[in-house]
Amino acid sequence: MTLLQVTDLRVSFDTPDGVVRAVRGMSFALDRGRTLGIVGESGSGKSVATQTLMRLTPGARVTGRALFEGQDLLTVSDRRMRELRGAEIGMIFQDPLSSLHPLYRVGRQIEEMIRAHDGKATREQARKRAVEMLGLVGIPRPDRRADDYPHQFSGGMRQRAMIAMALALNPKLIIADEPTTALDATVQAQILDLMRRLQREFDTALIMITHDLGVIADMADEVLVMYGGRPAEVAGRRDLYYRPHHPYTKGLLESVPSATGGDRLRTISGQPPSLINLPSGCVFHPRCPYVMDRCPVDEPPLDPAGEPRLDPGTEHVSACWLPHDIAGLDERAETARAEAARRGRSGADEGSGR
């Protein structure tokens, strides 16, 4: 059953330098108990999109729809939104030190959240629940540690406390924005393990935003790759990693150093686009090795791509003018891409296009 259905979300900000078009048409659907991974580089719009869903982007111009159990998150009253935040939709942020109040005890902050949403809960009940949650996320001696201040916790413990807070009211959806980026590898493994376990236990839906393809490979059922404010490719996890269609997805996957890698890393040339002066046509065309004549002119729609599928039941769409059946990282796909790109260029401007 669809828990969250986002349709054509667009977010822009007016700034003195011009209009920043942070999100330019994003759609996805998420079921209970499933995980959607959103990958993208800085400035791709991945965080703005999810913050907008939580109505945390004041001053933004927002259009589109985001139906959460039938109510549009973008238009419900502020009051209803406050009820939803925390109780129905939990959030976990990257930096737990700045999301916890430094002058309040950790347990107290969780109690406060419980009582804000549940008027009937007494202090004792809220306290009991807070300690229980801290224990659940693996904080040793939770009854004692609940009385600590955030600075007395290590980075991993703070992130656990944030997770405890996000889960305290048993929300249906959790939005985690780079939840492990600030943590060390062994601690990251602990936290991801914990999130997976709790998700299974409570059948929570999860939106996981990260730039780390390793975390996504481990956690997500479906993956949405953002570039320049738009989804470049959406696919099931295995389809995305083994049969990517969009040249940007392919470039990202190839930039990750691998054990078997050759002498040089493949890179994506150039820089991510400015969201004020977006390139015409396909936003990726100035960096794309397969650029064709139509790329700087027409913006490609998100069309089905990459048949056949490795993840049955998921859709695989890609916003690229390359033929829809060219997918994958192997030689054959590579030759097909180069051939298609060559045919897509008019003879005169061989190798120009940028």
Binding site: E41, S42, P140, S154, G155, G156, M157, D184, A185, T186, V187, Q188, A189, Q190, L192, D193, H211, D212, L213, G214, V215, I216, A217, D218, R237, R238, Y241, Y242, G251, L252, L253, S255, V256, P257, S258, A259, G261, R264, L265, R266, T267, I268, S269, Q271, P272
Partner: protein, 358 residues
């Protein structure tokens, strides 16, 4: 790789403690942070030594000791046979021409009010190597070398992206033609596609200029990619050191094994197959490190012996002589650590600090 005379930098028993003081007048020392606690290592000419470890393992402090930024508490550091811990100020200045650093944060390590040309030109000014038109010419050469447009000489750092700023940092480090470059998390603040560009640049420069790198990072796949040899640090000590392929293929120290198993893999099927070794608790406080082997409170293989006897860093049975491990009970091939139970109680270590005054 030939004999001992090929060694560019060697550290012997390097110790760096930071005192924690309390009080205003007498500043009584109440504790010390054992940031680096007895490290031996050597780096050969032209190779890349990777150092991995988690927050608080002392890898950055070690780097700063090796470059002479921190005076050491004890131990000796030889650069080309000269002990740099005994150098005079003038000697240190000459040494610093040979050794340069590239820092993690391309935003914090460049002065935002100065033009890029003058930032990159600083080393020429400091060492009195070139000025005027000559300096400008050499700065622009460097900018070209690292893939920046030399015409951007007069721009401010804010006008560059993160990846370009890191290139500025690289250009500045290379200005005085150093022989050793210490890279402290040079790519961890960058996006994946930009990371790859900077890594390729560092590799190309190494080949072109015959540089020696010490490459510190917490991203294990990046370290594996760039390094010839890798040392794993835990709580101020090196726990294992080996050629990259040996360490990644067959880690012997349980901590190395856990660290490697925890690394995220950008491949869904492999990630699903991988067996995670989840460690108990967090890294203990370096103020009061555990007795014996420092890893014993979190080690899935710990025995009573580990709590009392500090294991030496030596080749273990069946390993080549350049693969050294500080462990009494190294991981055997085929052993599945994820299922192991320690022979002693595992404790989650919360640091018991003496309450430090602000």
């Amino acid at each position: 790789m030939t004999g001992e005379d090929d060694v560019l930098v060697a550290a012997e028993g390097v110790v760096k403690h930071f005192p924690i003081r309390q009080g205003i007048v007498f500043k009584k020392e109440i504790a010390r942070v054992h940031a680096v606690d007895g490290v031996d290592l050597s780096v050969r000419r032209g190779e890349t030594l990777g150092i991995v470890g988690e927050t608080g393992s002392g890898k950055s402090t070690l780097a700063r000791c090796l470059t002479g930024l921190h005076p050491v508490t004890a131990g000796r550091i030889f650069f080309e046979g000269t002990d740099i811990t005994r150098l005079s100020r003038a000697g240190l200045k000459a040494f610093r021409r040979d050794v340069q650093m590239i820092f993690q944060d391309p935003y914090g390590s460049l002065n935002p009010r100065r033009r890029v040309g003058s930032i990159i030109g600083d080393p020429f000014a400091i060492h009195g190597l070139a000025d005027g038109a000559e300096r400008r010419r050499r700065v622009q050469e460097l900018m070209e070398l690292v893939g920046l447009n030399p015409e951007h000489y007069n721009r401010f750092p804010a006008e560059f992206s993160g990846g370009q700023r890191q290139r500025i940092g690289v250009a500045r480090a290379l200005a005085v033609r150093p022989r050793l470059v210490v890279c402290d998390e040079p790519v961890s603040a960058l996006d994946v596609s930009i990371q790859a560009q900077v890594i390729n640049l560092l590799r190309d420069l190494q080949t072109e200029l015959g540089l020696t790198y010490i490459f510190i990072a917490h991203d294990l796949s990046v370290v594996r990619y760039v390094s010839d040899r890798v040392a794993v640090m835990y709580l101020g000590r090196i726990v294992e050191s080996a050629p990259a392929s040996g360490l990644y293929g067959r880690p012997r120290h349980p901590y190395s094994a856990a660290l490697l198993s925890a690394a995220s893999i950008a491949d869904p099927d492999e990630a699903a197959r991988a067996e995670r070794i989840v460690l108990t608790g967090d890294v203990p406080s370096p103020i009061d490190p555990p007795s014996g082997c420092r890893f014993h409170p979190r080690c899935p293989k710990a025995q009573d012996r580990c709590t009392v006897e500090d294991p030496p860093l030596v080749p273990r049975a069946g390993d080549p002589s350049d693969h050294v491990t500080a462990c009494h009970f190294p991981v055997e091939p085929g052993e599945r650590l994820a299922r192991r139970e320690a022979g002693i109680a595992q404790v989650s270590t919360d640091p018991d600090l003496p309450e430090a005054a602000p």
